[in-house]
Point group: C2
Chain length 201, copies 2
């Protein structure tokens, strides 16, 4: 696929890497994904914006056999083989207690932590902003030259109890990460057109 | 800011454009943003993944004076001057009735529309996936060489009634779009470290 002549500042090569040629992966090679690479993804996408810089996304990376065995039964059946084949599986969660970090992330407003703690919309704010960060994270995995396989087919309550007990973190999306098996590729599904989703006033 | 030696496939220039040098804009120059450019952003980010390819994001672009006058009173006071100065303001919403498009977006499974219609988690699914798409959208605005100014400080119920009446669309985030005024820049707030948000198992 080649870059089109759209008036974008991003290079055609980068457009292909992040969006046009990137595909959701459902099978992976055995090539490992290092912690250094996971850290590099974080160090890139951490700069993307969230409301009041709250950054509520939390991540549990499942790599070892023991942790993977704890995760597999909570995935929907159609997702288990994918999770079993991915070198790393990221459990992406929203931290409803993100306000505990406001002193660091919003240092110029001393009252931010207490204001957020008292905010009845805090859980919704955590989920919305963490979901934005899930979007950034998926782009970041692709920026690292890896494939992401995001999934929402899992028992969220069971994953919460198994991996996030004792916290206020709520799992949103599970993402397989690795090098895609080139033999396992599905035809791409259609996208909605600009006219179907947009109104210009 | 220069590219670091992180092991990413994306070029340092693109990393800077999308993440490291990109900043949330709070004031804009008068340089316009064409519909062609908005369409190019869509044509890039539409390829990013959503659950079952549902693509629940809907967008109302506010450009004209009449529409802007309808929006301004529903923004929180601190956001009104920003909205007034942005060439285009995008109202990003989740369509809870996304299932009406399943025939197009998930054509190989004829039962998808009815299954989604009956799904009690449909509203949550719409909001989660539209929020992922908000993340992609913000990256796409930056890919176009524009600045995004995302805001959650607005009266969501009033914006819904004013711009989304008669639909099942729920506004999530309002994004100012334009060329940033170089004189209006705040110091960047700290980000959470990998260790603060991650666990590797």
């Amino acid at each position: 696929m080649t870059a089109t002549t759209t008036p974008l500042a991003l290079s055609g090569e980068a457009q292909d890497l992040l969006f046009r040629e990137a595909r959701t992966a459902s099978a992976f090679t055995s090539e490992p994904v290092t912690d250094e690479r996971l850290r590099a993804v974080h160090d890139l996408v951490k700069w993307a914006p969230t409301s009041m810089n709250t950054q509520p996304l939390r991540v549990v990376y499942v790599r070892g056999d023991a942790a993977r065995a704890r995760l597999l039964p909570h995935m929907s059946e159609g997702n288990r083989a994918k999770v079993a084949s991915a070198p790393v599986v990221a459990l992406l969660a929203a931290d409803v207690d993100f306000h505990e970090h406001m002193g660091k992330v919003f240092p110029h407003f001393a009252g931010a932590r207490d204001m957020m703690e008292a905010n009845p919309g805090r859980a919704e704010m955590a989920k919305l902003n963490a979901a934005l960060q899930v979007g950034y994270f998926i782009v970041g995995v692709r920026a690292a030259g890896l494939a992401a396989g995001p999934m929402t087919g899992f028992d969220a309550e069971a994953v919460r109890a198994e991996f996030f007990a004792g916290t206020a973190q709520v799992p949103l999306v599970v993402v397989n990460i690795g090098h895609p098996d080139p033999e396992a590729s599905f035809p791409r599904n259609p996208r909605l057109d600009f006219e179907e989703i947009s109104t210009v006033l």
